[in-house]
Symmetry: C2
Subunit: 334 residues, 2 copies
DNA sequence: GCAGCTATTTAGAACGTTCCAAATCATCAC
DNA sequence: GTGATGATTTGGAACGTTCTAAATAGCTGC
């Protein structure tokens, strides 16, 4: 009934060599004579042979498969990151198993078990909020190579690729101060992640450096809608900020809409600055000043770090930190 | 050196039963006695047993793995689609292998071979521009179940999930005509896909129905930047359109920026309408009227269709067509 | 106490690959 | 020729599951 897949054995028989030789050809081993290789490759093409990587992994323990877990597939920060990872993995003839943790650490655990079952060679993880501190250690016990990215649980416990959020936030604050602002507020995300705490830390550090005033922080859901609704909270801040820095561009865009609804013109009455420089920053009105974190670059870096780790399991732990760039548009009154 | 993974055999020994029994427990077979099941499950938890799905597939030929190929990971139309697919697959305890064809059919072929090698149970494909007509047939030969989605090669040759682009475009044209526009132009993508031809067909059909005038079509790269630069071409159309419908919201957003650079106020001097209702449609200035195609719904539908196909390989070919909804904002002068 | 059930369990052979150690082949120096 | 050397090739044993068919256990009715 069901036609079976072509096997090494069959190719071997057709080419008049042994299974082992064909296996060597498949793996491009230099051990096999040029003439034999050509003959075998020819037969393989003829018979439409496809190597069964599942069976291969069973024996050799490398699956050419990596797992990637992101907390969100709607935010383009993560999809650009994902695109970067996929590009590099594709070049290396690896396949990406994708999963969305929805920022839920229990779900993330389930996914990791699933990945383990599928025998991934390694995992690139953007840890969900609330991820247990000892996850990197546990994964080491499982002998499952890990690269953390964009966010980090228990710093230094695994390879990591990210952007210098602290420096990025500092660039943003400096820009606002240069524009003459002295009372600056922060519109923050609610979820507790390293990305959030670094951005807040950068904000506070930069305020001290520039002797500007912290006009307070407002928290909101990480959605366009949520930010829109907090516009009135921002306007109600007792310190009456003249500029507001947002956790990311999505919040900034939502905030700007909300401000306008309240009769406040962003970029004129109140400066608004985003972080991440998502594509949407070009589209808002006024166009949003932001800090480019280059998530696609981070994704590529993470993929390369994992590749390195797989090649050299005992290499020392590495960190790649992308230096952000400021992108000035009109929402900060230029 | 390397600690091996816990195997069925070891669990069996520890629990004092046979390998076969443990296998039955793992697969939740009703054949095993309640007492035995509990004992074995307990031991499995203790030993941190993880089933090796690679080995399982080898024998049983189901890998709980599906491949998904999209042409682009930056356009949120595709990432929302992907999110929909991933959600449903996750619920069914399946894993998604993700790849980006970059709208290159040769790359797409490579990816399919790679997926084949990994033994995916089936594939959800948004075919790249230039995909060979006979791909669905070839995949049937490979016994690789296929669901096409968002775009379609050789209609009716496989399951399909998509939106009614023709009806969507018609809704858009009707709206413009209702607003009093009689000369309407179309800003089109260049890549030859079914999505493009359906949208164009819907445009032309609706013009005929409403006795409005086709003010010409302009082609551009499918990027924000490309569309911005074609603003002058649009303005140079001899028929002097009063409204322009765009292949998607990205083009519409770019066009609006370009128009304003040329001193034309979108939504006032010239109505602009998008398609897809991406999140960015809310952010542009003026906010963009568009047609919601609900790609996340399509993704979920595609995933369910594939699941059905895997359960019943000989079921008749099915199509799921989502009915689009119009979303009126201010870019069409309301 | 035994035949005839049904409910459970099991040994052993796959599945398609890679690894290992050994076998074969060709070449060359003597 | 012969032995040694290096270059290719190869048979069989893994890898961790599931499948098949058959074995065993636990009942029932007589």
């Amino acid at each position: 009934m069901k036609r079976k897949r072509v096997t090494l054995e069959q190719v071997a028989r057709a080419a008049g060599v042994s299974r082992a030789t064909v296996s060597l050809v498949v793996r491009k081993s230099p051990l096999v004579a040029e003439a034999t290789r050509e003959k075998v490759e020819c037969v393989m093409a003829d018979m439409d042979y496809v190597r069964d990587l599942g069976a291969a992994r069973m024996r050799s323990n490398l699956s050419r498969t990596v797992g990637v877990i992101v907390p969100n597939l709607v935010n383009s920060f993560f999809t650009e990151f994902l695109a970067g990872v996929e590009t590099v993995m594709g070049e290396e003839d690896r396949v990406v198993l994708l999963a969305n943790s929805q920022d839920d650490s229990a779900r993330q655990d389930t996914i990791l078990q699933r990945f383990r079952g599928h025998g991934v060679d390694g995992v690139i993880l953007c840890p969900a909020a609330g991820t247990a501190e000892d996850l990197p250690r546990r994964m080491r016990e499982w002998e499952l190579p890990l690269v953390q990215s964009l966010r980090e649980i228990s710093a230094g416990s695994s390879d990591y690729a990210g952007a210098d959020y602290i420096e990025g936030t500092r660039l943003a604050v400096r820009h606002l101060v240069d524009q003459g602002h002295r009372r600056i507020a922060f519109l923050s995300d609610k979820t507790a992640t390293s990305a959030r705490s670094e951005r807040l830390a950068g904000f506070n550090a930069a305020l001290i450096e520039t002797h500007a005033e912290n006009a307070g922080t407002v928290e909101t859901e990480l959605t366009w809608c949520g930010a829109m609704q907090t516009a009135r909270d921002v306007l109600a801040l007792p310190a009456a900020p003249t500029a507001i820095l947002c956790f990311n561009d999505i919040l900034a865009a939502g905030l700007m809409s909300g401000l306008r609804q309240n009769g406040v013109e962003p970029g004129v009455d109140l400066a608004v600055m985003g972080l991440d420089d998502l594509p949407l920053a070009q589209l808002t009105h006024p166009a949003l000043s932001s800090i480019a974190m280059m998530p696609d670059q981070i994704g590529m870096a993470a993929a390369r770090q994992l590749a390195r780790r797989l090649a050299q399991p005992d290499a020392e732990i590495s960190r790649t930190i992308i230096t952000p760039r400021i992108v000035i548009r009109s929402s900060t009154g230029c």
